[in-house]
């Protein structure tokens, strides 16, 4: 095989499908967790809210309409190796976001940060947010599109903790996460997902927190046993606060808590807490060297 035949790239048709599939559905892993939470729910109001959510997902799929009126903020994760051709990705994503907006699948929601002027088509400076992640030796190409609700962003918290604040049993970190939940309450459209980024510098912790909850399967188990335990403990404690769906009281406030980690400097422990609404609109595809594709997140497109 020559070098050119081994190159991997993503076509505009796939990009178009990923965008449209994402905003009209929620990823199946999250939908399953939502349905299980509904079955377990002992508070009538919270259960009725989740019934409405489940009906809404079905209605959106049948009517080919946006699940939620707000498309949130588009992020594109690209994981690639030396053989990837990414040259069309920025342009094609920008064009398809505008096209999907014109079709009524995405509300025009992107504005200038200071003037608040809305161009009306979801175009804008540095939109979408691309994360190009180079992994040496990788032979396939993974693309994940995520539309992350921005009411949820209002609950986000960042703190550069110190060793003393973190405490030996990490209770400082746990209290920070739980306090963020108490403050966020119903604002991030619970039942939520919560990403926690620990370590690195400020921007790394923030990116890890978003990536963890935006790109991981909400039912997976962290391969790091220590982090897996911490994820489970925090999830249990968050739900024990009793905030429930919509934050009006109930058994399930959080469907999944995912931690991303980077080593940090001995002087600091940056911690970012990132809320994700229940409307987990995201799709991911893996493109193999031979051109075959595999769905890694979301439904078949």
């Amino acid at each position: 095989m020559n070098k050119v035949a081994n190159r991997v790239s993503v076509g505009k048709g796939i990009i178009a499908s990923l965008i449209r599939g994402s905003c009209t559905s929620i990823s199946p892993d999250v939908f399953e967790l939502l349905k299980k939470a509904r079955d377990r729910e002992s508070f009538a109001e919270s259960a009725s809210i989740m019934d409405c959510m489940i009906d809404n997902v079905k209605a959106a799929g049948e009517a080919w309409k946006p699940v939620c009126q707000s498309p949130g903020y588009p992020v594109v994760y690209v994981r690639f190796g030396e053989n990837a051709d990414l040259s069309n990705i920025p342009g094609d994503f920008r064009e398809e976001l505008v096209s999907a907006t014109k079709e009524g699948l995405l509300r025009p929601s992107i504005v200038h940060p200071l003037t608040r002027k809305n161009p009306g088509d979801n175009s804008g400076v540095n939109v979408p947010n691309f994360e190009f992640q180079f992994e040496p030796g990788r032979r396939d190409l993974e693309i994940i599109v995520s539309f992350k609700g921005c009411g949820a962003e209002l609950g986000n918290v960042f703190k550069t903790m110190t060793t003393a604040e973190l405490k030996k049993d990490y209770s400082g970190l746990k209290k920070l996460v739980l306090s963020a939940v108490a403050e966020a309450g119903g604002k991030p459209c619970p039942p939520t997902g919560i990403g926690v980024g620990i370590g690195g510098q400020m921007d790394q912790a923030a990116r890890l927190s978003r990536e963890a909850i935006s790109t991981r399967n909400w039912s997976d188990i962290n391969p790091d046993p220590m982090l897996a335990d911490l994820e489970a403990e925090l999830l249990e404690k968050i739900n024990a606060l009793g905030l429930g769906a919509a934050g009006i009281g109930g058994d399930t406030y959080c469907l999944a808590l995912k931690i991303g980690m980077a080593s940090t400097h001995t002087a600091i422990c940056p911690v970012a807490i990132n809320f994700h609404c229940w409307v987990a609109r995201r799709s991911g595809i893996r493109i193999l060297e031979d051109g075959r594709t595999e769905i890694i997140l979301g439904k078949e497109v």
């Binding site: 109001e45 009725s48 809210i49 409405c52 959510m53 009906d55 809404n56 209605a59 959106a60 009517a63 309409k65 946006p66 699940v67 939620c68 009126q69 707000s70 009524g104 995405l106 509300r107 025009p108 929601s109 504005v111 608040r116 002027k117 809305n118 009306g120 609700g149 009411g151 209002l154 209770s171 746990k174 209290k175 739980l178 306090s179 939940v181 108490a182 403050e183 309450g185 119903g186 604002k187 991030p188 459209c189 619970p190 404690k237 024990a240 606060l241 009793g242 905030l243 919509a246 934050g247 009006i248 009281g249 609404c277 229940w278 409307v279």
Partner: protein
């Protein structure tokens, strides 16, 4: 806990009957307003200008819809609540305008609770992220103002029929579900960690 079917315009005495936990199904005229709309209303009121809609007895829905143009007419595609706390700085203004109901998600803070008590208002929690279902209760878009602010921020006026279920989560008697749950959360957190 009671269920009410109510029609806009809403009377103060009817709002004062509502208590946290009650369910409301709403019919009649609803106006959307959010960040930019509230800011512009504030500026118009301070200049003694007339607002382009009737707030008295009305309902403000913290929301920005997806609308599509069909035969020159705006049609509702989907609509759902946005996070209300952003409009908290305008609590007193909205109360003094005679608005009786605020629909949104996530609740508001003490300034709003005080205004609800003083002016006779309630906060209604809509099911969040359920835009297709909620949009199906919108019968007709009557009007749009300030479209130059963008589709989400424009003031949309429309008719709804049996819009709900909306849960009363903040009432005119200083009751707030959000406040109660937040206090309960902190007492649990503080009991777990010293």
């Amino acid at each position: 806990m009671s269920t009410y079917n109510m029609t806009v315009p809403i009377k103060e005495e009817d709002v004062r009957k509502l208590k946290t936990g009650d369910i409301v199904f709403l019919s009649g005229r609803v106006n959307t307003s959010r960040d930019m709309g509230h800011m512009k209303i504030q500026s118009m009121l301070s200049n003694n200008e007339t607002l382009p809609f009737e707030p008295d007895g009305g309902v403000i829905f913290h929301a920005g819809p997806v609308v599509v143009k069909d035969d020159g007419q705006w049609k509702m595609s989907v609509i759902g609540p946005t996070t209300s706390i952003r409009m908290e700085p305008y609590a007193e203004m909205v109360g003094s305008m005679g608005v009786r109901m605020i629909i949104g998600k996530g609740g508001m803070a003490d300034g709003s609770l005080k205004a609800y008590n003083q002016y006779g208002q309630v906060y209604l929690q809509a099911p969040p992220g359920c835009a297709v279902i909620l949009g199906s209760y919108v019968k007709k878009i009557e009007n749009v103002q300030w479209f130059e602010l963008g589709m989400p921020e424009a003031l949309w006026e429309f008719e709804v029929e049996n819009f709900g279920p909306l849960i009363v989560t903040m009432d005119s008697h200083m009751g707030s579900r959000y406040k109660d749950l937040k206090e309960k959360s902190y007492s649990l957190i503080n009991s777990w960690y010293s």
